[in-house]
């Protein structure tokens, strides 16, 4: 049993590393076409992402919301659902955080932050949970439903921010009321990274343990692997799907909360920057494993973080990071086909 787990892990590491190297090779050719030395670009990529304390902090800051939005796809995926609603759940969570947070100025900070975190995760959880319920009780495809709900969530936020909860004192940018200054969280001690990172890592670890060590997690894996078997075993399928959707949505909602209480302080279009869509791919790259999400999110965050430096050093457009990320996503997804094809990883399994 241990041998097979170890081999599966090794297989994933080898295949992903190969995909990463191929991606870098492709990206090297791409920048070479624009007259840059690939090795210089790789060096700057490393410098901007992982070389200094500053760049590592930048990378971790970028990766924090991605860990949480990735859960929105990963946890339902373990039960066999393909949810792509992280973007919407993040927005809903952020709006809920603001709606609750503006009334909490009189509370001690820890209590206010706790309540806002609950508000954000419950709102996000109910949002994706609704999609899960529509699927289980009405047969609505969850992928399409959550895609549509992304747009609905963004429209609801734009509506609220443009009128009902707009802060008319903010003239530069259309934004909502701000939460009280006393409820904004600062950075993790010793690092210039906001608390979203700690929340993201802790959530991923907790969910890893739950999905790996509990009866619930085991049941979900059965359901995801073979729904018929789950039905025959008498597992409470509807409840399990709803719980998984709620947990996933809660993760993305919590990402919204952290964006509000650690970064912006108010809801605005700045919440809609594609964290949700990047999260979907991170979940796939991590093969829906919450612990692996932490690593993949940091890697992808590193690419985003080095974008600015690449732009300054080589005068490359800021979309360079997106090109590299896109290449990486395409390559790793394609590499999924390699699993099980190499005998060397299967030997100990039997």
């Amino acid at each position: 049993m241990f041998g097979s787990t170890f081999n599966n892990g090794l297989e994933a590491v080898v295949i992903n590393a190969a995909a990463l190297i191929l991606t870098l090779a492709g990206f090297g050719v791409f920048v070479a076409l624009f007259g840059h030395n690939p090795l210089d670009v790789f060096y700057i990529l490393y410098l901007g992402a992982f070389a200094t304390q500053l760049s590592i902090e930048n990378t971790l800051t970028q990766s924090a919301p991605l860990m949480l939005t990735a859960l929105c796809t990963a946890i339902p995926a373990r039960a066999g659902l393909l949810v792509i609603g992280g973007e919407g759940a993040l927005v809903v969570g952020g709006v809920a955080t603001v709606l609750v947070g503006v009334h909490l100025g009189h509370l001690p900070p820890w209590a206010g932050v706790l309540i806002m975190g609950l508000a954000g995760s419950i709102a996000g959880g109910l949002w994706i949970g609704a999609a899960g319920a529509l699927r289980q009780y009405r047969g609505v495809n969850e992928t399409i439903a959550t895609l549509l709900m992304n747009y609905i969530a963004i429209a609801i936020m734009s509506h609220l921010v443009s009128g009902p909860i707009r802060d008319f004192d903010q003239v530069l940018k259309t934004s909502s009321w701000s939460i009280p200054e006393s409820l904004m969280v600062s950075t993790v001690p010793g690092l210039d990274v906001h608390w979203g990172l700690a929340v993201g890592v802790a959530t991923c670890v907790i969910l890893y343990v739950i999905m790996r060590q509990t009866t619930f997690g085991f049941g979900v894996d059965i359901l995801g692997g073979n729904p018929r078997a789950a039905q025959m075993a008498g597992l409470p399928i509807n409840r399990m799907v709803l719980v998984c959707c709620f947990i996933g949505g809660a993760g993305a909602g919590l990402a919204g909360t952290m964006e509000i209480i650690a970064v912006h302080g108010f809801a605005s279009e700045s919440l809609v920057v594609g964290f949700g869509y990047a999260g979907i791919l991170i979940a796939f790259l991590a093969r829906q494993n919450p612990a692996a999400i932490i690593i993949v999110a940091i890697l992808v965050g590193g690419i985003s973080a080095s974008g600015g430096l690449m732009q300054r050093r080589f005068d490359l457009p800021d979309a360079t990071a997106a090109v590299l990320q896109g290449m990486l996503f395409v390559m790793v997804l394609a590499s999924n086909t390699a699993y099980g094809r190499f005998k060397i990883f299967q030997l100990k399994a039997n």
Binding site: L82, I84, L134, Q136, Y137, R138, G139, V140, N141, T143, I144, A145, L147, L148, M149, Y151, I152, I154, A155, I156, S158, H159, S162, G163, G274, Y277, A278, I280, L281, F284, L316, P317, D318, A319, T320, A321, A322, V323, Q325, G326, M327, F329, V330, L333, A334, N336, T337, Y339
Partner: protein
């Protein structure tokens, strides 16, 4: 709005109808493209990336050569190239077409912003349109009846595709492959090849839809050009029940709904602007909830498409 005031609510109606024609064109092309893709049994969520890539490459070509129609063709080819990537990767086993689509969405938009940086400032020649409203003295009517050339091409194409899918050999092959891998394999068709071709054709149309954004309306190239029309294609196709002619009606409906908010603004109704803008999404979700059932898959859905199971 002094010149809009005399028309009052008629002005809103005219603006919505005119907007429907103008805004619906990219919807029409991406939904036709997605129909071809899904008829073959795959879902391409990467049409958003293809659309933006089409907008950029079409605009760039038009700036450099001064030929907007050449831009349209180049946009289609760029779209085909990205779609080919989607098709080839999805030919591999154990690869999820939805996830590949989203990665293509990120890659395509990233690549378009990267390559399109030099084209943000120069202006390109616009595509032509027909002035069907010259008889009217109202500027609103005249602007509503400026029918763009791509819209007309799209409408003709919708009918041609509907006929072809039903009556021509390629249509039958594509539908067979989309409905049952086993049946198509038994008949000797190369399922992966047919699906890839369906995806590539869909990518061409989506690329053309993108060139409409940059070469006609709004008629410029910048990074905020698309508002998710490519991602919406999947929803549009469900709404249209995988029927090209319904795609045309649904595109008009979505275009009209999108134009409703701005039109209401002209008569002074500015509240709920964003909610009107989201009307298509509410509408599609409502329809989906209404027509879905746990007992059967959606009527008209190709059997092999992952989202209909």
């Amino acid at each position: 709005m002094t010149d809009g005031g005399d028309l009052g609510w008629w002005g809103v109606l005219i603006a919505v109808m005119g907007g429907a024609i103008r805004v619906s064109t990219p919807y029409l092309f991406v939904s036709l493209g997605e129909t071809l893709t899904e008829k073959g049994g795959r879902v391409n969520l990467g049409l958003e990336g293809i659309l933006v890539m089409g907008a950029m490459s079409g605009y760039g070509t038009a700036v450099v050569t001064g030929e907007p129609w050449l831009g349209v063709i180049v946009a289609g080819c760029a779209g085909s190239a990205l779609a080919l990537l989607h098709g080839l990767i999805c030919n591999l086993t154990r690869v999820n077409d939805i996830a590949v689509g989203i990665s293509l969405f990120i890659f395509g938009t990233g690549l378009a912003f990267f390559l399109g940086k030099p084209f943000i400032n120069p202006s390109a020649p616009r595509l032509p349109h027909l002035e069907l409203g010259a008889w009217s003295s109202y500027p609103q009517v005249r602007s509503a009846l400026e029918i763009n050339a791509l819209f007309i091409i799209g409408v003709v194409l919708a009918f041609v595709l509907a006929w072809g899918l039903k009556n021509m050999k390629w249509g039958l092959i594509l539908r067979t492959v989309g409905d049952s891998t086993e049946a198509a394999t038994a008949l000797g068709y190369n399922v992966n090849w047919v699906r890839t071709m369906g995806t590539v054709a869909g990518g061409f149309l989506s690329g053309v839809g993108g060139s409409f954004l940059s070469l006609y309306y709004p008629g410029t190239w910048n990074e905020g050009l698309s508002s998710g029309q490519g991602l919406m294609a999947v929803a549009l196709v469900i709404f249209a029940r995988w029927n090209p002619i319904y795609c045309f009606y649904v595109s008009l409906l979505f275009g009209g709904a999108t134009a409703l908010g701005p039109a209401l603004q002209t008569v002074g109704i500015t509240s709920n602007y964003y909610l009107y803008g989201a009307a298509p999404y509410f509408l599609t979700l409502g329809l989906l909830i209404y027509s879905s059932s746990t007992k059967h898959s959606l009527a008209g859905a190709p059997g092999e498409v992952s989202i209909s199971r």
